[in-house]
């Protein structure tokens, strides 16, 4: 009862986290992805491009590009517009302008497994083989399964001019090019130097360095194990060496059509037999190289 009363008081003063009740404004831009798909990196990239004077770091990134579960309702009300807001939500029709980052679910599974260790949700003895079925069922977080999250956005918005689909793998391979697309989407004028600088300022090395300084000031890293980094490998294809064949097979068996549609090469089945992801425009990403 006390905690409900306290929650009521916070609510009264707008000091609660709005979550899905966030009052969305028509000019808001949402940076959306399933968890562990490069959202934080992308926040740094954008912040280093758009808010570079404020020297983006782990201490202020939640202010520059806040999430509805982290910043308060009042903070959102006072933000300068247009606001750039990060989110892990599955499709939400109120989000009109969306940058959506998708990542190979085989890498997402590994990344989330390590992140759960860092957050002390599981310890190191917890086998990946036990984590994976829960991951596939969408039980490892509150944002649906990987497929549900990705498919809900693609089915609703792919082909819309206010929907920008990015792949984490493309961002790793050519960050400047992909950040250029983001800049264009945000209608921010950016020279090649601006883009290069933002990429440089958001490199894994620099983000690791900043993480060491400010891990206690960020909602994602505060109170987590400090012996495990938030910025881990910052690569793609980790699953190729870090995952058992049976696990790879389980992920592909569950989500092959969508993976194929996204250009993620399937290794455990004859890809000619895989049905394609349905009712989307034919324009699709090319196969991920490397």
């Amino acid at each position: 009862m006390i905690s409900r009363f306290a929650a009521g008081i916070r609510y009264l003063f707008g000091l609660h986290h709005p979550g899905r009740n966030l009052a969305v404004l028509p000019d808001d831009i949402f940076l959306v992805s399933y968890p562990k798909s490069g959202n934080t990196w992308c926040r740094f990239l954008i912040a280093n491009l758009v808010y570079s004077q404020q020297n983006p770091n782990w201490g202020n990134i939640d202010k520059l590009i806040p999430g509805p579960e982290v910043a308060t309702k009042r903070y959102f009300q006072r933000m300068k517009r247009p606001r750039i807001i990060r989110s892990h939500d599955p499709f939400d029709p109120r989000y009109k302008q969306v940058i959506y980052i998708v990542r190979d679910p085989r890498d997402v599974a590994l990344s989330q497994y390590h992140h759960h260790q860092k957050r002390k949700l599981i310890d190191e003895s917890y086998p990946f083989a036990a984590f994976l079925p829960r991951f596939l069922a969408g039980e490892t977080n509150e944002h649906g399964s990987w497929k549900q999250n990705v498919a809900s956005w693609l089915a609703a918005r792919h082909g819309d001019s206010r929907f920008l689909l990015l792949r984490y793998e493309d961002m790793i391979a050519s960050p400047q090019l992909e950040l250029g697309k983001v800049a264009e989407f945000l209608t921010v004028t950016a020279t090649a130097q601006d883009l290069a600088r933002a990429v440089e300022q958001s490199s894994p090395e620099r983000m690791r360095q900043l993480e060491k300084m400010n891990a206690d000031k960020n909602a994602l890293t505060k109170g987590t194990r400090q012996d495990l980094p938030f910025v881990r490998t910052a690569k793609f294809g980790n699953w190729k060496s870090g995952m058992q064949e049976s696990s790879i097979a389980a992920i592909e068996a569950a989500w092959a059509p969508l993976m194929k549609w996204l250009g993620y090469e399937l290794v455990t089945r004859d890809s000619r037999l895989v049905e394609d992801f349905a009712f989307l425009a034919s324009e699709r990403p090319v196969v991920v190289q490397g």
Partner: protein, 287 residues
């Protein structure tokens, strides 16, 4: 400020009207559709098989198959489980068991136009051309566009356990058959007799009759125009006579793949034949 205090107090006591924001239990079943797709009719059908010995009507349906927009979180939490809850929400990962009703968007547009007239959102002279333009953009209600709504559910859940896809048109054609599918999805052991009676007790005529005396007892029809009925044509294909061809084309152009997937015949010239892409993703069934 006063409103905020009331709002905060309601929230602290669990009395806020819930809509999307309420406590979901894993054994809940949701009766989901885009607005004006036969949800109220389906609630009556379900209500009449769940409570075969009661008279389900507009005054008590919200206590049997509640709608979160008209029920507080506290009331919902106090209901006997497993609950069957009506919803117009777009994809929500918390809904483990979903009966999803899809309806031809051309008919949905016509139905929503008349319903919004009934709700006095615009007058009788409001041009349907203007309405359809907003309908296609998802600006006529709070639950996304038809394509976004249907797409968000089908792409995430169709073909998976815990998801039953129904078409309004099939429900009209063979109500008893579709209702028995609902019954087995709900794990109810009901006799054909109960099904037949439920169909009869939920017929359009029966519902029209109830609506006449009970419109003020039902949140959806309360304080709306009483000269425009809630239970309207209750048929499929009304768009063929009610919707001008350019508007039909507008809707078909917006959602052709999804409409085709659902088996709604397209009439616009130049809309291609189905492609291989449109076999719905059936994720775990490829061998």
């Amino acid at each position: 400020m006063f409103n905020r205090i009331v709002d905060a107090a309601k929230r602290a006591l669990g009395l806020q009207m819930t809509d999307r924001d309420f406590t979901v239990f894993p054994d809940d079943t949701f009766l989901v559709s885009y607005p004006k797709s036969g949800n109220t009719w389906a609630r009556f059908l379900v209500g009449n098989i769940v409570r075969p010995h009661e008279n389900v009507d507009f005054s008590n349906i919200n206590g049997i198959v509640p709608g979160p927009g008209a029920t507080s979180d506290r009331e919902l939490r106090r209901m006997a489980r497993p609950r069957i809850i009506k919803s117009h929400q777009y994809f929500d990962p918390r809904y483990a068991r979903v009966i999803y009703i899809a309806r031809d968007p051309r008919d949905v547009a016509v139905s929503q136009y008349h319903f919004q007239r009934k709700r006095k959102l615009f007058g009788d002279d409001y041009p349907i051309e203007k309405f359809v333009e907003r309908f296609v953009a998802g600006r006529t209600c709070d639950y996304a566009s038809w394509g976004e709504h249907v797409g968000s559910w089908l792409s995430t859940r169709n073909g998976q356990p815990g998801f039953l896809l129904l078409r309004y048109e099939d429900m009209i054609r063979d109500t008893a058959h579709e209702l028995s599918r609902i019954a087995s999805f709900l794990g109810l052991d009901v006799t054909p007799d109960v099904i037949q009676k439920a169909v009869a007790k939920s017929s359009a005529n029966k519902m029209r009759e109830l609506e006449k005396s009970q419109a003020q007892m039902f949140a959806i029809t309360k304080d709306t125009r009483q000269d425009v009925p809630f239970v309207r044509a209750a048929n499929a294909g009304g768009w063929r006579s009610e919707l001008p061809a350019p508007l039909v084309h507008r809707i078909e152009a917006a959602w052709a793949p999804l409409m085709r997937y659902l088996g709604y015949e397209l009439t616009s010239p130049g809309i291609e034949k189905p492609g291989a892409l449109e076999t719905i993703l059936q994720t775990a069934t490829i061998s």
